[in-house]
């Protein structure tokens, strides 16, 4: 990390968070985390997916008010019950999802909630003048009467920042602000951040990109599994240290001694089961950065290939694009067993023996109002209903088979899926795809929101399917899971594959570094977390 002036810690902090804990329905998301922000500094918050970064800043920004611990602003204890209250104290968050109203004009958005009024009437002309002044500060020249949705995403983000400035923000929270921005847009954002620092604002910056940490950070706090690992001035933190803090969990408990599958043997002459060449997924937004950029990759029959990708890496989009979920936005060559295939819809993917377990079973995986049986048969309905008429007995047989094989615990096969636990819902989603008899199985976070016992069962199932010859492409944000399950690992960063690891040379540190966009770093403890 480059040397830079360390903010004078002799000055009192703008914000001091002490002993913050937060649970989501019994599951601890944050435990005893302390965090300070000083004037004129960029404080980077780093950690793997699910480490608790977003939860921490949401507490600071008043989104969650039921937490333990205290927040002090300039020495005075506060407790926010809404983002509006936080904004009144000068704490403004720019979240990953923008909070602008797309159909409203720029000026109306800037003064949404805090309009300039006299006697209850909006002073439109004054608002327009103020809006122009705010945007001028950021070097944005746009017609303030245009609807926000007509403007490019980067401009929208700048408008959001202008809105924060208009609210006299003293602490600005940015959660992955560059994930959708192109290089020049990023540059403009960075100049603005420098400007904010010069004015004495504090900036909390969440990112997964090493290059951004190197360039922006004055201080770095690393979270892991809801706890604070370290806070240190950026000048004292090497990339290696940072990565190790983020990964640093010891392989513990039952999976340390887990027996592994034998490496799949490839028939020398057979073409790979799945082969991608220059696979690209174009952005929905005109001129936007493609979420997946010229990826080439192959998976053998019976092989488990893990993709390490942090938020915004494009890994999920790669699987969804391959499955036809983006229609014609997905470009490039897909070969199955050596033969090129066209996949522009999920139906075509299923017909070609490709199955996708999505990363959000409630939103995109299951129809929660339908029964277990209806969900298990949904993707294979065409084959189960010859001539269109359903055969209830056959459906029940199929559902019973999978319920037994996956050891599903459900009140009955006719119970709606929303009455099942998370782990059992996930098993229903898996059963749905196995019933299609896939030759390629795409798994996006197969153990998300699943308890430990169900996780272990799912691991065993994944091994078994690979042994049966299914080619598996796997995304998981849990490093031990990735290391344990994968025969081969590729790391993705900003839509591209940045590194590839075999079992022999994979280490958690090196994988994470590649996923954060660094050239390969050597692990400080090479022996400890190697794959066996």
């Amino acid at each position: 990390m480059p040397n830079r002036a360390i903010p004078a810690e002799s000055k009192p902090p703008l914000v001091r968070m002490v002993g913050i804990s937060k649970r989501f329905g019994g599951v601890p998301a944050l435990q005893e985390v302390s965090f300070e922000i000083y004037p004129g500094e960029v404080h980077v918050l780093a950690g793997e997916n699910g480490a608790g970064k977003s939860t921490l800043v949401k507490i600071l920004a008043g989104v969650y008010s039921d937490y333990e611990g205290t927040i002090e602003i300039e020495g005075k204890p506060v407790r926010f019950h809404s983002p509006l209250e936080a904004a009144a104290q000068g704490i403004v968050a720019i979240h990953q999802e923008l909070s602008l109203v797309p159909s409203m004009s720029v000026v109306d958005n800037l003064f949404l909630g805090t309009p300039l009024t006299s006697a209850g009437f909006v002073r439109q002309r004054d608002q327009r003048v103020r809006a122009k002044a705010l945007l001028d500060q950021l070097g944005v020249e746009i017609d303030v009467d245009r609807a926000v949705e007509e403007l490019p995403l980067a401009t929208q983000q700048l408008i959001e920042i202008a809105k924060a400035l208009g609210q006299k923000a003293r602490v600005l929270i940015m959660d992955e602000p560059t994930s959708a921005l192109s290089a020049p847009e990023v540059e403009r954002l960075f100049r603005l951040i420098a400007d904010l620092k010069a004015r004495g604002c504090g900036v909390v910056y969440i990112t997964h990109r090493l290059e951004e940490i190197e360039r922006l950070a004055d201080r770095i706090t690393v979270l892991r599994d809801g706890r604070r690992v370290q806070t240190a001035p950026a000048s004292e933190v090497s990339t290696q240290m940072l990565i190790h803090w983020m990964v640093g969990r010891e392989l513990e408990g039952w999976w340390a001694g887990e027996s592994r599958r034998a490496q799949p043997v490839r028939a020398a002459s057979a073409p790979p089961r799945l082969q991608l060449e220059n696979f690209t997924v174009l952005s929905r937004r005109h001129g936007g950065r493609p979420p997946v950029d010229s990826v080439s990759l192959s998976v053998e029959a019976g092989e488990i290939v893990g993709i390490a990708g942090l938020q915004g890496s494009g890994a999920s989009e790669l699987l969804m694009g391959l499955f036809g979920g983006y229609g014609r936005l997905a470009r490039g060559t897909i070969r199955l067993n050596g033969k090129p295939v066209t996949i522009h819809s999920p139906q075509q993917a299923i017909a070609n023996g490709i199955a996708l377990l999505t990363n959000d079973r409630k939103a995109t995986g299951l129809v929660l109002s339908l029964s277990v049986m209806a969900n298990i048969t949904l993707a294979d309905l065409k084959r189960l209903t010859p001539f269109g008429w359903r055969r209830p007995r056959l459906e029940r047989e199929v559902a019973t088979y999978w319920a037994n094989r996956l050891r599903l615990q459900a009140p009955s096969l006719d119970a709606p899926v929303d009455t099942l636990s998370g782990g059992n819902q996930q098993k229903v989603a898996l059963a749905k795809w196995l019933q299609t008899r896939p030759q390629v199985l795409l798994l996006d976070e197969p153990t998300r929101g699943v308890d430990v016992a169900a996780k272990r069962e799912i691991y065993e199932l994944i091994y078994r399917w690979a042994d049966e010859g299914i080619a598996i492409l796997l995304i998981t944000s849990e490093m031990p899971e990735l290391l344990m399950l994968s025969d081969r690992i590729v790391a993705m960063h900003r839509g591209r594959i940045t590194a590839e690891f075999t079992r022999a040379n994979a280490s958690a540190d090196a994988i994470l570094a590649a996923a954060m966009g660094s050239s390969v770093v050597s692990s400080p403890h090479p022996a400890q977390e190697r794959m066996p």
Binding site: Q347, A363, G365, L368, S369, T385, G388, W389
Partner: protein, 317 residues
């Protein structure tokens, strides 16, 4: 199922108590109650398909008028055979539903807007075709006099009674429509697809369900049912009235909702709709045999819709 059945039983109990000096216990009263509920029932069957897929069809009342006008023109004025007129009328209904369905499935219009447009358009078309006049057995001559013709046999057939005068044929048609809708929803792949789309459209799409086609078919089916209802309406009134069917879409939606099918889609069924249709139909009949004025009847129906829907919500917590 339980609560919808309870609502119907309560209404029937009301009939037993306020039996209008025994009129409620006469079979003719029930025959007429069912006859009067049949057109709404046929519409509600189609509406159930669309609502389960997460949509709505506001155009059915206008399609009833359009088809009634066309059916009367073909049968009375032009003297066409029912073998020609009936399929053509079904085609007209299917075309109306198909147009709405395409706007919803591929044009990505909200169902409310697409079918609202069709509701206005079909009403205008009905008025254009009929010249704004009722199409009846009195055919106007160019010189202002009228020429009278007989009621066509197909009209008399549809409005006939069977089983020794104890059951209207339109009620049988209604029950056949309900059976078809039930078969589609409960025994056909398409029905499962509609439930899946209404429950979670994105999950359905990602499970390979042909979402646009399934939706299109639902609107076409709804149009077909509306055409059947339109022909029954024409036969019962012995004319094609371009002003017929105003507000029928809302009664049909009310029947579906009272049954307990969710307007959000994904839950419900034809059996429930049947109960809803009977609840509304009997309530209306009981109030009318007790000579309750129409104004009060409307207010009571409104209250029943609210109470029945609140009861359904209570069930789901």
């Amino acid at each position: 199922m339980g609560r919808a059945l309870l609502a119907l039983l309560l209404v029937l109990l009301l009939g037993v108590i306020f039996n209008a000096e025994g009129a409620f216990f006469k079979i003719g009263t029930h025959r007429d109650a069912l006859r009067q509920a049949s057109v709404n029932g046929i519409l509600a069957c189609g509406m159930t398909l669309v609502i389960i897929s997460g949509g709505i069809d506001l155009s059915v009342g206008s399609v009833v008028a359009l088809v009634a006008v066309c059916f009367a023109l073909m049968s009375i004025h032009w003297g066409w055979s029912p073998l020609l007129a009936v399929p053509l009328c079904l085609l007209i209904g299917a075309a109306c539903g198909g147009a709405s369905g395409m706007l919803v499935a591929w044009g990505r219009l909200q169902p409310f807007i697409a079918t609202l447009a069709m509701m206005v358009f079909a009403r205008g078309l009905a008025k254009t075709i009929s010249g704004g006049m009722k199409v009846s057995t009195a055919i106007p001559n160019p010189d202002g006099t009228y020429q009278y013709v007989g009621v066509p046999s197909i009209f008399r057939f549809i409005d006939s009674r069977i089983l020794g005068d104890n059951l209207s044929l339109v009620t049988v048609i209604f029950l056949i429509c309900a059976a078809i809708a039930w078969l589609a929803l409960s025994r056909h792949r398409w029905g499962r697809e509609l439930y899946a789309i209404g429950g979670n459209e994105e999950a359905a799409r990602l499970s390979g369900v042909p979402v646009p086609i399934a939706k299109l078919k639902a609107y076409i089916a709804c149009g077909l049912f509306a055409a059947v209802a339109g022909m029954c309406q024409a036969a019962q009134e012995q004319q094609g009235d371009p002003e017929a069917g105003i507000g029928y879409e809302l009664t049909a939606i009310a029947a579906v909702v009272i049954g307990g099918t969710s307007l959000m889609g994904g839950r419900g069924g034809v059996g429930l709709t049947l109960l809803g249709v009977l609840t509304i139909g009997y309530l209306d009949k009981i109030l009318s045999i007790n000579a309750v004025p129409e104004a009060s009847r409307l207010m009571l129906t409104g209250i029943v819709i609210v109470v029945a829907t609140l009861a359904q919500r209570g069930r789901r917590g």
